[in-house]
Symmetry: D2
Subunit: 356 residues, 4 copies
Amino acid sequence: MRVGLLTSGGDCQALNAAMRGVVKGLFEYDKKVEIFGFRNGYKGLIYKDYTQMSRSDFSGILTRGGTILGSSRQPFKQMRVPDENGLDKVEAMKQTYYDLNLDCIVILGGNGTEKSANMLREEGLNVIHLPKTIDNDIYGTDVTFGFQSAINIATDAIDCIHTTAASHNRVFIVEVMGHKVGWLTLYAGIAGGADIILIPEIPYDIDNVVSAIEKRGKEGKGFTILAVAEGAISKEDSKLSKKEYKSKLAERKYPSVSYEIAAEIEKRTGVEVRVTVPGHTQRGGSPCPYDRVLCTRLGAAAAKAIVDKDYGNMIAMVNGETKRVPLGKVAGKLKSVDPKAQMIKEAKIVGISFGD
Amino acid sequence: MRVGLLTSGGDCQALNAAMRGVVKGLFEYDKKVEIFGFRNGYKGLIYKDYTQMSRSDFSGILTRGGTILGSSRQPFKQMRVPDENGLDKVEAMKQTYYDLNLDCIVILGGNGTEKSANMLREEGLNVIHLPKTIDNDIYGTDVTFGFQSAINIATDAIDCIHTTAASHNRVFIVEVMGHKVGWLTLYAGIAGGADIILIPEIPYDIDNVVSAIEKRGKEGKGFTILAVAEGAISKEDSKLSKKEYKSKLAERKYPSVSYEIAAEIEKRTGVEVRVTVPGHTQRGGSPCPYDRVLCTRLGAAAAKAIVDKDYGNMIAMVNGETKRVPLGKVAGKLKSVDPKAQMIKEAKIVGISFGD
Amino acid sequence: MRVGLLTSGGDCQALNAAMRGVVKGLFEYDKKVEIFGFRNGYKGLIYKDYTQMSRSDFSGILTRGGTILGSSRQPFKQMRVPDENGLDKVEAMKQTYYDLNLDCIVILGGNGTEKSANMLREEGLNVIHLPKTIDNDIYGTDVTFGFQSAINIATDAIDCIHTTAASHNRVFIVEVMGHKVGWLTLYAGIAGGADIILIPEIPYDIDNVVSAIEKRGKEGKGFTILAVAEGAISKEDSKLSKKEYKSKLAERKYPSVSYEIAAEIEKRTGVEVRVTVPGHTQRGGSPCPYDRVLCTRLGAAAAKAIVDKDYGNMIAMVNGETKRVPLGKVAGKLKSVDPKAQMIKEAKIVGISFGD
Amino acid sequence: MRVGLLTSGGDCQALNAAMRGVVKGLFEYDKKVEIFGFRNGYKGLIYKDYTQMSRSDFSGILTRGGTILGSSRQPFKQMRVPDENGLDKVEAMKQTYYDLNLDCIVILGGNGTEKSANMLREEGLNVIHLPKTIDNDIYGTDVTFGFQSAINIATDAIDCIHTTAASHNRVFIVEVMGHKVGWLTLYAGIAGGADIILIPEIPYDIDNVVSAIEKRGKEGKGFTILAVAEGAISKEDSKLSKKEYKSKLAERKYPSVSYEIAAEIEKRTGVEVRVTVPGHTQRGGSPCPYDRVLCTRLGAAAAKAIVDKDYGNMIAMVNGETKRVPLGKVAGKLKSVDPKAQMIKEAKIVGISFGD
């Protein structure tokens, strides 16, 4: 058996754990399996930048953050566009695959990565996709790896801010990652005890945000914590066309939405507002135990799928069980927070405002 | 509305977070709700040891371990046995309930606590049960609170042992809590990268354990980590009657099963084996973000059930949704690890031995 | 005995631990001691906003971040300026002190707070100062409390960035707090394995920074981590007068120095540079064990000084021993990093660049 | 330049960080330095088990626990006793040293390791010793590496126990490592808020321990936490001769002193006492930022000493500065806690009982 491995897109916490799972599983089945690691995502596959790896290369990496293979962002849109030297990237990837005589390639990545993986499947390659992203926005799986680890880091940030906010009677905004969806902000916000949570799926009205802060003041709470998704959007802006919104963003004088919201709150309430942006720390560090278990299971299930020669799937976690989900059915779809989800209702029950 | 609260059994990490969820939810519905907190579990209900609590008593406790109400163990078996002064405990509890004119009492606890809660329900009281235990052995819910926090602590212990084991080429046993079930050991063992996992549901054969250690030696791994559940049992012992096993345990010269296994391994392999018992630390400390989200949701759902006057239920988490599960259907049932579960198979795929 | 307590300036991690030490110490000496806690720093003393506190108010706060008394910034410069109602703040504070018939007031804070404490001493009040700040810039003590806890948080951020930087071959800047000094950046930078450390005491030359990045590239390291103090300054700017520099800062189009450095590096190298600003998280969360021991000792030593009626001192830690340092000798002086310090030389020995 | 490296004795958290410091420092001085890593402590030197290492072998190990070289315990007493094949170990080590034509060997270890290093120095080898131990008992340095990381782990354990003790009104003992000295217990005990701290240097009287527990009861505290050093000893036992005490220990029916103290307390008070033994976890995991800074500095100072050809020293940290301390002056001396130390007095001021 000859199996390729690559990690693509923004890195996150349990990529190594997942690869360890796949490789340990394959070696338990077949001691002669040959593993090829492609460097820096699809680039390695395109430009034949790979290394043959031994079992011991995957030893001791369960707890290590990042990816031992390196990663890079390769926008799906440009996959079919020749590179600066006129190279057809798709053909180049196929060539590498066939030259190495691979049985299969295991691709770890998020939504964009999945789309490219599906394209390779359509081109006739045997692929397995493992759903990696701190954003948790991959359709077809209940949870992605990296998500819980990122929740932990973002929650730590909110926890730290909590003590300082309470000591100073201030309003604090913690800006949480999550790309176009609010999963990470929703979970970290609830876990950190945020009073107001703003996510892209529930456009906010700044008046409601201000009311929620003032309500706390009336209840004798001198401080308020907002967890704001990097993609949060106001009701007003949500009515703009994509193009209009983009050009509005381009002109925004603030580095991100949180600073804009902060300025608005300060203007309306006179209270000092501070913004904290944990940023890329949310992708880093050692994976949490939850993600390590998740990745060991996904990795094992991927190994089993390879042994079964059942390709073309994402290995998902659904209702506590790993599952093979055909890439053709899920690639290109985004999983967003449903504003009517039970969890949103429960958050509202305990008094969290979504500014809607 | 007049609502009672009590926490019973061994404490764990997110009891306060869960109570905060219930109380925040109730106050959002009705600012005039009256909360009565019973001290030290059922004792407080029996002996009228309670205090009326304000909303602010539950402020800032989301991250605090333990329980602000105190807890105590009250074996279900003795509930109907009069106390040393001849007091009928069940009648006493009912009396307290009626004297305070409660609409409902919210009871946080594990399996034993749930049985007593169900008995109170049968006696005509309005009860709501929230599933608390690091053991994860409550039937009818996918997960209990405390479980993930305990996994984190047990995994930390295994992580620490990993570096020392690797440096010294030794065999290490980490004994993990879990009462009669193996959930905590299974998850922490996989998360910590244990090579061998021994749980009560899969009785072990010491020969297989020794083989697994020796197999690692042949693969050039100088050390082995075992995660052993406090309730782990050998195949031989699993064939004994309950009574026989109890009397065998009573005579055991080791403080716990791990020491016995360690002695066996040393005898058979000549390798030095060290045992670590994180013990009660697994119940302590601040709840992890996962448990805080879980408890906020369960608490909100409990508040909603109280408002709906829908009593007699455990509030469970099933497939990612909170759910009201009638106590009559679940009380007294234990949720064990199924030896044929997908997760066990996956653990075996990556080479973990269960000694079976 | 009647003792006042106040916490002033930016909050930090072990304020509660220090107050607990003082109060536990006083109660062990004299069960009848009366404790008065002033709210929100000097404001509480000025406006008679205080509460009498019992021993149990200080129980269980050893690990809690922030300050149970609240804090506020009260610039020393404005202490002698009447407030908006014409109130003479200094006289008001003295009045409160005498009205309450205090034996002493214990003041926890940083440099500015210390200057005000010294002024109150000169005005005839009995004061004790405890050196609080994550900046570690208080003259007369080897270390301040909050410093080590902040190092831990800033280092965590660098650790998280490390895994993501290594996976993507990028340049990352982590901006570390520290006001006008580089202590926090120096320690967190070394602890986090930063390749380049920029601090106010060692003005940087951007050419040297770029060379250091390129040197790493030549050694086969695809990524570089910079720890940059919020007060870092270029050689060029360090030659400006204070006034000139201030007006230059006011015109700067970047939110902070790190963004400016990032832009410069991108311009000169073409490599993508990302900036992370942990910000106020560095002040928050639970104090680390080091700070808890430090504060318990400083608190005990403060209690002893009060019992000895030896007022007018900062309680410092010097060469591992607590020491009473007369406020008159230290107030107003800043402790900066000496560019020729042994530690700087050692950092250079292991290849860290300071851009000088 | 040709330099050897070995790590000996029980492993601890920052061994890799220290070696990284030495090697980075050497390579900055001289790109052609040759590094030889001996495996498993002195064994590698005796039996010529070594590997030549590149700079990149020491890259990325700043945060990794354990030792990449492996370690083993080699009692000083047996260094001059031939091995089972009649090999003269000292001569064998010298032979390896001369065969490899080493300029120097850097030895990382605790007290025993230091004695052997000093012996090698007396035999004419160039050695540098770096003071490693979680016990902090090396004479001539203010602090050893591993110590602060171990404090953090032991304090975490006490923190976890705190929440559970407070919830259940129990007495808890946390047994802390430290070999024959009480440093680790003293620091972790104060940091964790232990009420009673028992260390070898201050023999305890069980009556005083019980009184301290009862005093807390009278003050309304339902629980008590004891931090007990693994080497704690009663006043009575401290009067025995070494031989008598050893034979008493051999007959002790409890696995360690904590269990014996627990039984005594239970007998005298009737209160339930639980014992927790974090054990080897205290040596493991990632080094804390404090230890990483310490080791980077010690490593750099060692590199400088090698470049200066100034051998035969331990590199110590004294009053915040690294210092070369002649091995002949310190080897064989133990640094214990002085019962009259200022820190002990301060601990007593805040009400901590030492049982004396």
